[in-house]
């Protein structure tokens, strides 16, 4: 009996360890299948191109399926001009970075892909990206000074190596439900609105039976949500030298308190509802009268039938005291893998995507606001039923989205801690002070 016991124990121990080992692999597997399904579509579209001629194909990784049709069109122009074929792979944002990191670790990054300010430093530090500095210098079609300098700088590692070419910029604006405004007898938001007008309207637009709320903010969507008001009121998230947190600043606390107070008063749905549902989903369902959203959401919102029939866009309110109307902005970059088998072809694609011609087309098709100076005029015509000009007006006073080398680590921490402020378990000031302390120690160990 004794022997039998020992053997089974060992067998089970091995089974247990095996299962523990597996869990990490499973996590990865899920990601790839999620990505794969969406790639299928892209594959089909490129198949037609493949039949046209021989040669290899560049894989291009992106995370936003809304942009796929437009980018496919632009890239087919590229294929026509150069004979280099491309294939777009879509992986949703949540899994995109896991996919990219796994690719970088295993030496199989896509040839060309989107880069983001959250993650660039990691890839730059370990030389995962193709150095474009000299290529840009020799290029005839690419003019880096036509792009906003702050976006160029995000992708300029240590101020020297240019590792990505700007693709677009995004700004934030206010979406409102005209039908609800009419019903409440309030005039539509415009450039005269301050955050106090906003609060007042939110109050009037809230129905006591919980069927309709004045506004909502997705707590994890910092760029499109609470960040803007924090900067309006004179606060900031991270200092310019990226060494200290701004959560102890008076303006930061004031901005966040303003929003959490409105939630406590019941002018926004309870935190649990916002946590389970996207803010745009609540807006599309006619549950909330106002949301703040980024320009990247246009394909989603503008193609929704309810939104088309009832809603429009205005600039964000400004702060009465400071007079500031700030939009946090960010911009993606086109980067290439350092060990791609086709560096020349990859570079040509990036060069093309950054050229005036492609940038113009990107705006014209309404894909996103292009980063290239003077190419955005036609963008407002992409969805004529909406006042897209609000997004361009927001470009007047912009602040780059807060980032540092370890952006992901401290943004996750901020989101976690702010939960207590949103649902009122702690005072907003207390939470902010706590965040400041933790964030400073995180920044110190970067």
């Amino acid at each position: 009996m004794k022997r039998k016991w020992g053997f089974t124990a060992a067998a089970i121990a091995i089974a247990a360890t095996a299962l523990v080992g597996c869990s990490s692999q499973q996590a990865g597997k899920e990601t790839t299948t999620a990505g794969k399904e969406e790639t299928k579509q892209a594959e089909e579209t490129t198949k037609a191109a493949e039949n046209a001629g021989g040669g290899k194909t560049l894989t291009v990784a992106i995370w936003d399926k809304n942009q796929e049709p437009g980018l496919t069109e632009i890239m087919s122009d590229f294929t026509k001009a150069t004979g280099i074929k491309t294939q777009i792979q879509i992986t949703p944002w949540e899994q995109y970075w896991t996919m990219l990191e796994a690719g970088a670790t295993g030496g199989s990054l896509p040839d060309v892909f989107w880069m983001h300010s959250n993650e660039i430093s990691k890839y730059a530090q370990y030389d995962m990206l193709l150095d474009l500095t000299d290529k840009i210098k020799d290029s005839k079609t690419l003019e880096m000074d036509k792009f906003p300098k702050e976006i160029v700088d995000i992708y300029k590692w240590e101020g020297k190596k240019q590792l990505a070419v700007p693709k677009d910029i995004d700004t934030i604006a206010l979406w409102y439900n005209k039908t609800m405004f009419d019903e409440a007898g309030i005039s539509y938001p415009d450039a005269t609105w301050t955050w106090d007008t906003f609060a007042d309207a939110a109050k009037k637009l809230t129905k006591s039976d919980g069927s309709q709320y004045g506004f909502t903010v997705k707590p994890t969507n910092d760029q499109a949500g609470w960040c803007n008001i924090v900067y309006d009121m004179g606060g900031y998230v991270i200092s310019d030298d990226k060494k200290s947190s701004g959560f102890g600043q008076e303006g930061t606390i004031k901005g966040l308190t303003f929003l959490t107070d409105l939630m406590k008063k019941g002018y926004a749905p309870p935190y649990e509802v916002v946590a389970e549902n996207a803010d745009e989903a609540l807006f599309e369902a006619g549950k909330v009268a106002m949301i703040t959203q980024g320009s990247w959401m246009l394909p989603e919102l503008c193609n929704n039938d309810y939104v088309k029939a009832n809603c429009d866009i205005a600039v964000l309110p400004k702060d009465a005291a400071s007079g500031k109307r700030i939009s946090i902005y960010n911009g993606l970059g086109w980067a290439a893998s350092a060990n791609t088998s086709m560096p020349e072809e990859a570079w040509k694609l990036i060069e093309y995507m950054g050229s005036k011609e492609a940038q113009q087309k990107q705006s014209d098709l309404g894909v996103v606001i292009s980063a290239y100076e003077g190419t955005t005029d036609n963008w407002v015509k992409a969805y004529p039923a909406f006042n897209l000009k609000a997004y361009l007006d927001m470009k007047e006073d912009i602040v780059i989205r807060p980032y540092s080398k370890s952006t992901m680590v401290w943004t996750n921490m901020i989101h976690d801690k702010l939960i207590d402020a949103w649902n009122g378990n702690k005072t907003t000031e207390e939470v902010c002070k706590d965040i400041e302390k933790e964030m400073n120690s995180m920044l110190a160990s970067e």
């Binding site: 091995i14 247990a16 990490s24 990191e101 994890t220 749905p269 509802v273």
Partner: protein, 301 residues
């Protein structure tokens, strides 16, 4: 060399063929399981850089952090709470269903298929469907409650009950699998016992407690051991059903979820490794305790 002298030709050939047949399984185990386990242990002593490069040896620092990290202990508690709901219910319900399926009822195979279906469906898809059923604003459950005049429930965002909602999905998905194992166990019980007891005047309930339950205990033991291991590793349903901003997440996230977040979202693989090793030790302990206790209740007749 010894083997060559000792063993006969036949013994040698058996030895060789034996290992040859074992080879595919062994290779799989070593490459996919044993080596990653060793690497995980190794990694847990490092502050890992991105892409598996730039690792810095930090000794026991990750473990020191582990013992002071309240999130880890909360996650361990959450994992236990989840297992305490999932395992007993999935076993009891599955056993009752198995006994029903083993009796004389119409459309047996149709019922079996229905109960086994959740096992065939992709876990991620299952979790997505349940997420929408549970949704506090647009979900079917709250819709039904509201139409009965009751108020809505925050199924997956109430910190004190969300783990139960997640466990219900776990129970629902695993019942069919447990049931099939139990049916196999029931088939092993000789029919004579039931006939004999019937003559002695035992009813269905008595038969269940005095014949079925003791004789199915080996299967029960197997199911309990594997289910506890499975439940302790819950990840996919939590990952799919709960948003990062969910206020109940801290009180629901499991150790594997925390491991995923640290390792893959925040890129701290060294610390993630130490968390998953903690889980390994906990599972080993529970399994050893089960092995010791089985003598008291498992009946190998």
């Amino acid at each position: 060399m010894n083997i060559k002298i000792k063993g006969s030709r036949r013994e040698r050939s058996e030895f060789l063929w034996g290992w040859l047949f074992l080879l595919p399984t062994m290779a799989g185990l070593i490459i996919l399981n044993i080596i990653p386990i060793i690497q995980t242990v190794y990694q847990s002593f490092f502050k890992t850089g991105a892409f598996g490069r730039g690792n810095v040896f930090v000794g026991l620092q990750n473990y020191e952090k582990l013992f002071t990290d309240s999130l880890v202990w909360q996650a361990l508690m959450n994992t236990f709470k989840y297992a305490l709901v999932e395992v007993p219910f999935s076993i009891v319900i599955a056993l009752l269903l198995a006994v029903l399926m083993d009796g004389k009822i119409r459309g047996k195979s149709a019922w079996r298929t229905i109960y086994f279906l959740p096992m065939v469906a992709a876990p991620a898809a299952v979790a997505m469907v349940w997420r929408w059923l549970y949704n506090s604003e647009f979900g079917l459950f709250n819709h039904l409650l509201n139409s009965l005049g009751l108020s809505s429930v925050n199924w997956i965002s109430n910190p004190s009950t969300a783990y139960i909602s997640v466990a219900v999905v776990g129970i629902w998905s695993i019942i069919g699998y447990n049931m099939v194992l139990f049916i196999a166990g029931l088939k092993e019980i000789p029919r004579d016992y039931y006939e004999a007891s019937q003559i002695d005047g035992a009813g269905g309930v008595k038969q269940f407690f005095y014949i079925t339950l003791p004789l199915i205990s080996p299967t029960m033991f197997f199911v309990a051991v594997t289910r506890i291991i499975g439940a302790m590793q819950v990840f996919d349903s939590i990952y799919m059903m709960m948003d990062k901003s969910n206020p109940a997440l801290v009180k629901t996230q499991s150790l594997v979820y925390l491991f995923y977040r640290y390792s893959f979202v925040e890129g701290n693989k060294g610390y993630g490794s130490s968390i998953v090793l903690l889980l390994l030790v906990v599972i080993l302990l529970i399994t050893v305790i089960q092995m010791v206790c089985q003598k008291k209740w498992v009946n190998y007749s």
